[in-house]
Symmetry: C2
Subunit: 93 residues, 2 copies
DNA sequence: ATAGAGTAGTTTATTTTATAAACCAACATC
DNA sequence: GATGTTGGTTTATAAAATAAACTACTCTAT
């Protein structure tokens, strides 16, 4: 059986990637609200995705507030496509 | 976002259920070979699925050898259908 | 009869992962 | 000048997956 990329096969990381696949970019606060995750958990999982090169993050200051925004990389998009493909075998779609 | 049933959102358990959805029943050895899992891991994960009432197992002796065979329950089939449904949101299918 | 290897598992221990709790820095509000 | 808020990160704890070790039995060859 095909392996399911463990980096994507995690509820929160999958949710993050799922959201990012649909938009140019999304910021930390939006992702936190959309996924319902705690900030700590989100921070950790974003790091893992960034470490793997699946997403790219940029940290800037808007006025006095920090703002982290994220977007998919090509590597990430490919990994997601592969994951979906592999998963279809499991789901019998 | 819809929650992904954590019992099914595990590579090995999903593989087990995926196989069982396609057949009347399958035995331990078949599942071990088909999934490539170690016997220990398989034993643990089958227990969890049985505990949750997603699968049913029967242990009998065929000649002198033990034989554990597994099949889906209605509860399990419903859970799998729900899981697939929820996952489609994430996969954008 | 017994040592060695194989089958069919289970139990226990270890590692990995996910989650939550605590914390930091900067600001605004009372 | 406490008190709370926003936007995070770091660290600690809980939960999960995996691997290693073990049980019980059988079969073969010595």
């Amino acid at each position: 059986m095909r392996e399911l990329d463990p980096l994507l096969h995690s509820e929160l990381r999958l949710a993050i990637v799922s959201i990012l696949m649909g938009v140019e970019e999304a910021d930390f606060v939006y992702l936190r609200e959309a996924t319902g995750a705690t900030a700590g958990n989100l921070s950790v999982q974003l790091d893992k995705l960034a470490q793997a090169g699946y997403i790219e993050t940029t940290k800037e200051f808007v006025g006095k507030k920090p703002r982290t925004s994220c977007r998919m990389t090509d590597t990430g998009r490919r990994a997601f496509a592969d994951y979906v493909d592999a998963l279809k075998e499991y789901l019998r779609l």
